[in-house]
């Protein structure tokens, strides 16, 4: 047992001292490395050379005015959802229920459009829709929050369950409002009257982009400059400290999740009232989950989030273009997104820790 064991080649120690610039440098390097690997994978699968792969991807995202607008619109929706989840994450409340909260917001909007068509003037319908969507999203955020606040129910798991409950409720109404009957979908709601269609500003894309910008600004101020934001931060760091200074933790949890859910509901409203004018169970398209990663990648900073969501949307739309051009499957973008995420997730290690190699140690001892 006393045989001398080999020294480890290196060992890991924690670091606190990395500057922000350097940290973002490491992240940038990892993204470049991931993009190279993605290019390699694409080249293997398509036979195209890596540079033209990215040219194709770029043209998929920004190749024409229309494509650019669509990219920006998708970006804005993902950004709003990511922003919506952010206050909860800063509180260390793992809201994995963005998907369900968006769906419920969308469902509320669709319900107003379907049931109020022809009964109220358009402007009034839209106001009711806005209130209903935000309220519906907020309610979906409230249920896991109250369970967490009262009984410390694991929120990751409860919000996940809420997603599927929401999906089934939407499925229920899809059948109920089916049009034409038997088609299994709702179709464009109020195609002729356009009741409940959110007004277009300039063109049909700009509205969500403007809303996203507004929400970004609002959230930036909310998080960094408001008392609520400060309370969220204290609760997230230490509930005991929060109690100690008299912050009512349950109240903050519930309030923050109401904000989080309400903003998700807003995204649902834009999806249904502004973009698709219909509702399906897949209208959120997994963005509730993608948003978790977008928010985390941005270190929960609203401004940085613009760029991280752009990255994800660019990959999605770019890979979609590759899939179309080379007749590949649309799921290709999921694989590329996965690869990029793994690289960024992995690179955080090199920001928080450093490796110390043991070389040179022997001489040190001799010198003494």
């Amino acid at each position: 047992m006393n045989n001398k064991k080999s020294e480890p080649l290196f060992h890991v120690i924690k670091r606190d001292d990395m500057t922000r610039g350097k940290a973002w440098g490491i992240r940038a390097i990892s993204i470049v490395a991931a993009l190279l690997l993605c290019a390699l994978v694409t080249t293997v699968l398509t036979g195209d050379n890596p540079i033209s792969v990215y040219a194709t991807m770029f043209s998929g995202a920004f190749g024409s005015a229309r494509k650019t607008w669509v990219t920006l619109q998708s970006l804005s929706i993902l950004l709003i959802i990511s922003l919506a989840l952010t206050p909860a994450f800063r509180m260390r409340f793992w809201n994995c229920g963005g998907e369900g909260q968006v769906l419920m917001g969308g469902l509320a909007a669709a319900a107003c459009m379907v049931t109020l068509d022809g009964k109220l003037p358009n402007a009034l319908v839209i106001i009711i829709m806005i209130i209903a969507s935000i309220a519906a999203g907020a309610i979906w955020g409230f249920i896991p929050a109250i369970c967490k606040a009262k009984w410390n129910t694991n929120e990751t798991l409860s919000t996940l369950m809420m997603n599927y409950i929401a999906t089934q409720i939407v499925a229920y109404y899809t059948v109920l409002w089916e049009s034409p009957k038997g088609s299994g979908k709702i179709g464009i709601i109020n195609q002729n009257s356009n009741i409940g269609w959110l007004p277009e500003i300039g063109n049909k894309y700009l509205l969500s982009i403007l809303v996203a910008l507004l929400v970004t600004g609002f959230l930036y101020i909310y998080i960094y400059y408001s008392k609520h934001g400060y309370e969220i931060c204290v609760v997230g760091e230490s509930e005991r400290t929060a109690n100690y200074v008299g912050i009512k933790v349950p109240k903050v949890i519930v309030r923050t999740m109401l904000v989080s859910g309400a903003l998700c509901g807003l995204a649902g409203l834009l999806l249904v009232g502004g973009i698709n004018h219909t509702i399906t169970t897949t209208i959120a398209g997994g963005q509730g989950f993608t948003a978790i990663m977008v928010s985390w990648l941005a270190k929960f900073n609203p401004i940085t989030m613009i760029f991280t969501s752009l990255l994800i949307i660019f990959l999605g739309r770019g890979a979609g273009e590759i899939a179309t051009v080379f007749e590949l499957n649309q799921s290709f973008s999921d694989i590329l997104t996965g690869i990029i995420l793994f690289f960024i997730i992995g690179c955080e290690f090199f920001i928080r820790y450093k490796l110390v190699f043991r070389s040179g140690k022997k001489e040190e001892v001799k010198n003494v």
Binding site: C96, L157, I165, S331, S333, G346
Partner: protein, 329 residues
């Protein structure tokens, strides 16, 4: 009623087995303190790898029963093992956030499944958007030889492919190992308090890696069972649906007990397909969508009720979701 049960129970079991694989895998994983939200992705990968293996083998011409089972099985296990290693490398070695890593794995895994599924469908030149591996499936879904002679008993208990029995055996084994053996004791210690386990000389990293990789391999079999047995060898994209999440729900529902999961998974399977047994042509067909909601609602209630009662024994492993670094101060 009896006749109904005899036809209903085997269908429920068929639905339940993938969930049982998934939940057993996730329980083993979570007992090590890793909350692997990538399980849905892993199950997709397990399924598609099996499909790729079977497809390649079927293309080669003559099909031998032994190899027809072994090749897809091996491919599936290797595929899910790789996913497990990826998850462990990121969360254990690089100490990344488990939620984010898991969700990225689900995106990635579902992407892999649908991408290669789609490519195979194109390769096979089928005119329907699915690929049928009927020969391989025949071996996977072969029931016990005397099942047909045993009447209702045979139908309810003996009419399944070997993977179904394997699922039950794995669940019982996992339960036994966790409760009664030293590795099980060590694993629970790692999930509860890695620092303590470490100080006691348990190799925390090794336990986390082994438990998570084994968990992924078990879960991946769920995907394989679904394609090869339940779906009779037909792969179509997104057909596996949200069963991976349902498996995670089951983990909570059973309060981290694989043996309880055997019955619960069949119960969930039954709830999942109950809507199909509603009399057709009813006025309100939309109600069937609400039936599909039941497993999730029930799980949510179980989750809330266990947290309300707050019994120390019924809580998730204490370090669930947290990375471990020995030199943390």
């Amino acid at each position: 009623m009896f006749d109904f049960l005899i036809t209903f129970i085997p269908r429920a079991v068929g639905q339940g087995i993938p969930l049982l694989f998934g939940s057993t895998g996730e329980i083993v994983t979570e007992k090590s303190g890793n909350l692997n939200l990538g399980i849905p992705g892993v199950m997709y990968v397990g399924g598609i790898c099996g499909v790729i293996g079977a497809f390649a083998y079927e293309q080669s011409g003559n099909v031998n029963g032994f190899l027809a089972i072994c090749i897809p099985l091996l491919c599936s296990l290797i595929g899910s093992l790789l996913m497990g290693l990826l998850y462990c490398f990121l969360t254990v070695t690089l100490r990344a956030n488990q939620n984010v890593t898991g969700l990225a794995m689900t995106t990635f895994g579902v992407g892999i499944g649908n991408f290669f599924g789609g490519s195979l469908i194109k390769l096979s030149g089928a005119d329907v958007p699915s690929i049928a591996l009927t020969k391989t499936s025949a071996y996977f879904s072969r029931s016990l030889p005397f099942a047909a002679k045993m009447g209702w008993f045979g139908k309810v208990f003996l009419s399944y492919g070997f993977l179904a029995y394997l699922a039950v055996i794995i669940a019982i084994l996992a339960s036994y190992i966790l409760k009664r053996t030293r590795p099980g004791l060590h694993l629970r210690a790692v999930g509860e308090s890695p620092a303590t386990a470490d100080a006691a000389g348990i190799n925390v990293i090794k336990y986390k890696y082994v438990a998570t990789c084994l968990g992924c391999m078990i879960a991946g079999l769920g995907g394989l069972y679904y394609v090869m047995d339940y779906a009779s060898g037909v792969w179509s994209n997104d057909a596996f649906g949200d069963r991976g999440w349902l498996a995670i729900a089951l983990v909570i529902f059973t309060i981290w007990r694989p043996n309880v999961s055997i019955f619960s998974s069949i119960l969930f399977g039954g709830l999942y397909i109950l809507y199909m047994y509603l009399p057709t042509g009813m006025e309100h067909m939309e109600v069937k969508e609400l039936y599909k909601m039941i497993p999730y609602v029930v799980t949510l209630i179980v989750l809330v009720v266990t947290s309300m009662r707050n019994k120390r024994e019924n809580q998730p492993p204490l370090s669930l979701g947290l990375p471990y670094f020995r030199e943390e101060r």
